[in-house]
Amino acid sequence: MERKTTVDGIEGTQNIQITREFDLTVEQLYKAYTVPEIIEQWMGTKVIKFEGFNHGGWKFETSTPDGIIVFSANGVHHEVVPNQRIVRTFVIENSGFPAQLEFIEFEALTESSSKLSMLMVFKTAEDRNNILKLPFAYGLNMAHDKLQSFFNSIS
């Protein structure tokens, strides 16, 4: 089944609202967000630190195949409620951009499907727009994946 990711809330706000439905149980969806080995697989980044509880910290890092760190982000979990919600801060290190606040909600739709809603709140609308324009902030992991599969294919 085609599952479409929607991005809303751009106009007239400093937010971004992302939603997506999954053919997964809400427990599986929550696990994908809280088990470091799984986060690494779908986010395409290395999980350096992950304290999946209230007031715990987290840190992700992406490097090139020869070890140069090209992206690192960190934040704090403000609230972690299993199978329901994660509230966390998110800041891209050395980018000069202010932290953003993320409300990640998990919701069971049926016994085998679930819905993810992610609300990102930026300091200003301008910050949001500029962060989205950064190639390394959101696009690089994808590029990195492509690079990786390229290396895999020739080796």
Partner: protein, 105 residues
Amino acid sequence: MNLRRDIFQAIADPTRRAILMLLTSQAMTAGTIASNFETARPTVSKHLQILIECELLSQEQNGREIYYSLNPLKLREIEDFIEPFRKLWDNRFSKLESVMKNYTL
């Protein structure tokens, strides 16, 4: 860069968003547009000027009147801007789904 020409700057203001909504039905003169708002006429004119600078509105002279109409193509810029970001998350979520389907406890 003139920030006023940024399309996001244009839609950041509630009055300007209301003007855009108003013009979805038909082209209007500045006077007709202003009559829909309680704000002073010069304020509305200022908003119209910004929307024109951002190319969200176009002007057409009709006798003594100038009609303002919406330029919907320009509004698509917002959509185009967000599309790579949406695709990125779409790819990630598809990956998440396939990872979890193969994952057993």
